[in-house]
Amino acid sequence: MSSEHSHFHVVPAAINFKVFLALIGLTILTVITARINLGGPWNIVLALSIACTKAILVFLWFMHLKYSHAINRVVIGSALFFLIVFLGLTATDVFFR
């Protein structure tokens, strides 16, 4: 039974601050790049990938998913997976009608 985790990792203040700066930086980046028209789907791909990196930063450090039990990663991972299944299969209908 999972009791070997009797200790708990404390995320140091320095890492929190670095993550904070990275998030602010990425926000500024996404605002700037939104103005340049990269043509085709690239604008949305770039905007989404920036948003995903920001989300991953928050997940791993602010929410200390990095140091949590593996089951928590499985939980949030499966939530995102079934979301993609939902979008994917609905798209096979809506855009091929």
């Binding site: 999972s2 089951i71 299969l89 209908d93 809506v94 009608r97």
Partner: protein, 525 residues
Amino acid sequence: MEVESNYLNHEKGLKSWLCSVDHKRIGILYFIAVMTFFLVGGLFGLLVRLELLTPTRLFMSSDLYNKAMTLHGSVMIFMVIIPGIPAVLGNFVLPLMIGAKDVAFPRLNLLSWYFLMFGATLAVLAIVLGGVDTGWTFYTPYSIRSMEAVTVILFGAFIMGFSSILTGLNFIVTIHQLRAPGMTMMHMPLFGWALYAAAIIQIIATPVLAITLLLLIAERLFGVGIFDASIGGDPILFQHFFWFYSHPAVYIMILPAMGIISEVVSTFSRKTIFGYKAIAFSSVAISAISFFVWGHHLFVSGQSELAGAIFSILTVLVGVPTAIKLFNWVATMYQGSIKLDTPMLYAIAFIGLFLIGGLTGLFLASMATDVQLHDTYFVVAHFHYTMVGGVVMGMFSGMFYWMPKITGKMYNELWGRVSAVLAFLGFNVTFIPQFIMGSQGMPRRYHLYDPKFHAYHLTSTIGSWILGLGIVIAMIVLIKSFKKGSVAPVNPWGGTTLEWTTPSPPPHDNFAQIPTVTSRPYEYN
């Protein structure tokens, strides 16, 4: 003789029940709630069948018939078979079965009961306000234009969704964190695995129902336009949103029932379950694949042919784990020592009826035959075979199996068996004619119908009386066993799972000392 304290006489008074955080008492609270809703839903089912006795109007107007049909569907699904087995038997038995003193979050467990009651009162309010006539599926655009009570029942269903999420959340954490020492996942009884698989679906599917209902409420109040074609929205998108929850939801209903059948068949055949790993993994496989198949509800709704083909193939794949389970249960009986007590009777009824339910699903999974059978009484019979033949029979099998442990008294065995036989016969007389008239083209949700179907409807209505009688007898026998009946032994059926090691009824704290588990659950000799 001093009565030893158990969870029933541990403390007295209504307040001790309504604010109890003991998983056993919450199980009883849910039992009372689910049984009342079952009576209400069943009554409306009988009224609908009575109205269909004659091709023309008998005693209901078309509007009233549509309201009765909608109410039968909504009450039975949201208030009876979704909370039914997990909240009543799961709450009571799971902690005992895995050697825990209580579920992980007792207070959330009580909150989930209040969510159900609050949601149910909203639904009752909707009936009083004029009723809902959209069918339990609330398809747009009709549900957008329908009367104002629909918003109230939508909000009620939204609230009840939280009850389901909290139960699922509680069970996942309980199974992960609170198993007795030595009970690895592969030593956990199969009812635990079934509740775990159902809880996964409750966690992942119910939020999408929540957002679907919110979007529909926003559509009705503010005209958001997403599902309304007049300004570019897409009514078929609502069907995608609705069925992404509602098809996995039918597996929330059936998986716990399958868990009960694994327990009952193994105990009443006094034989280790056949293929423990196969059944455990097929439960989780079902909950995973169930999220890929919802499109078979849209084969003829204007869905693209590509999506139809993909959904058709995925739908038949979800039938494979179910087939594996049916084979394993029958294989368990081989070389067993089978005793046909009431739980076993209901379990065998489950195997027979759910087999037919599953096989008739094949007609609806293949696109060509679905063109002929979609939205006819064939579909009505199919889902009643899985929902009543499956979930309700499984629920009664589980209730008769654990009632001695819950009440501490033995139920009346003779009347238990009578109820099983009556329910089985009545069920078949009610729904086999519906298969036939369905494939002949009799559409679903019809208040007035073509006289050529009269004979089938007549037989079906008579069958519904027998089914109703069987279920009422079963309920009386169960409820009476709270008051009267001989004192139940600690282990009336010779079960090997942990809940049979506690006295019946179990003490407030389940186990004085948490047991250690060494062997797999079903070792008989």
